[in-house]
Symmetry: none
Subunit: 240 residues, 2 copies
DNA sequence: TTTCAAAAATGGTGCGTACCAATTAAATTA
DNA sequence: TAATTTAATTGGTACGCACCATTTTTGAAA
């Protein structure tokens, strides 16, 4: 994978960043990188621009390119840097493999709110899928998802015990490429406390929103209730 | 403003999109646009790439470039676009005016962590500013900010009782245009509970990170501890 | 008419050049 | 030495060319 030049450079630079090979948090200038990697400066620029958009570095004209210190000190598991949607991909930490326990799986008519969020008609139906996510035996998130039947007709217990997104991509050639998310926190309720091993005063972090296919079709509404220690969302906010 | 070629094109395309000049939600192909605007295809690509990153359009190789229907509908999800950084601007809710109560204001040497985050030398100094933010008489956030003295030398009680960002822009022509934020939740501590009127089981939402000037200079490290009901973060996450 | 392979359309990647703009470093001058 | 001017450094923008990968369209064959 990643045979593309600019992606190779990104991967290599990321690795060097994390292994501390740029002690002063400053990258070589673009022309040097171009020489070092034996690629055009355009490719270097493409790589650096992408990394800057992801918040890994920032560039300062006349001065140089610098590593974002916050990027290095990320210890938390959930690390959304705008490059990976879906949950399975984001939690490959410390060799602990994510597991999934299906709590509920049924077909229901959509509420008015769901009809609006997923652009459905009243006569449409949706899957309702509630799953508990774990690392090994450590539960960290309760996920409730709603998916219109008319998009995928053949979901079953086996499929939803794995990654639905991967199944869509493999079996139906449908790629989920974008999502609009709201993030907030709440006190945990008794169910949260039970399932996620939370004390009464410990909260949950909530991420909820709509996932879209690459053709713009709204594909899923999802609410993810996280054990608060496992949710850290990193983002860049910029003013045009 | 916007004398740059690719920005002009973005502005023009946005306007055409909103005025419904692309009825089929499909943009002309890149080569045609290049011809129409009499600019290189590279500039067209730069403009379209930016727009795609902003969620306005999406591109499909072999097929064309399409307008995101949600963008036209002006869904609230797109709030982030054109929104302002800084707290004052983001919380003009229901006509309630935000107030500021200064809790602490001093000059200290930066910790090692701050030195790294703000690219400081050990001999530099920073302002430490702790402020309580309120709507009318309703407190909603505790903000702790660290600003290097070498960037602004003349902060005083009066200034920090208002918007520091606005002061910077007005008095020093310095614009804050970017920030890298981490968002997470925690149980509230006794200080939080006291200042924000929280019950023991109610959490706080934390936003913390570095704010940058438009020239890339890291300007402030800030931690904002929110009453959980007043923090909801909307964002777009996309996969390339 | 239907099927399937070839061609066209369309966005993606990579290389290279030229010049601009902000910052920093060096040289010059007072 | 200190202040100022000049030069070098470094990222930004724009243009152009060549070719690739995916999708759609076209046209010939069955």
């Amino acid at each position: 994978m990643a045979e593309l030049v600019y992606k190779q450079i990104i991967d290599d630079l990321k690795e060097k960043i994390f292994s501390g090979q740029f002690a002063d948090l400053k990258l070589p200038d673009e022309r040097s990188l171009s020489e070092t990697y034996q690629v055009s400066r355009s490719s270097i620029k493409r790589a650096l621009t992408k990394m800057a958009n992801d918040g890994i570095i920032f560039k300062k004209r006349g001065s140089g390119t610098f590593i974002n210190p916050l990027y290095i000190k990320n210890e938390s598991i959930f690390n959304y840097e705008g490059s990976n949607l879906g949950v399975s991909d984001n939690f490959q930490m410390n060799g602990k493999k994510p597991k999934i326990k299906v709590l509920e799986f049924e077909v229901i008519p959509p509420t008015d709110e769901l009809q609006r969020d997923l652009f459905l008609q009243p006569h449409d139906f949706v899957y309702k899928i509630i799953r508990l996510r774990l690392f090994e035996d450590e539960p960290f998130m309760i996920e409730t998802g709603y998916i219109p039947i008319k998009i995928v007709q053949n979901l079953n217990q086996t499929i939803i015990e794995g990654s639905i997104f991967h199944y869509l991509e493999d079996a139906h050639n449908l790629a989920v490429t974008k999502s609009f998310l709201s993030i907030y926190a709440e006190p945990s309720n008794s169910v949260d406390q039970e399932l996620l091993n939370l004390k009464e005063n410990e909260p949950i972090s909530i991420m909820e929103g709509i996932f879209f296919l690459d053709n713009g079709t709204p594909f899923e509404f999802s609410q993810m209730r996280f054990h608060y220690k496992y949710m850290k969302f990193n983002t860049i906010v910029s003013v045009p």
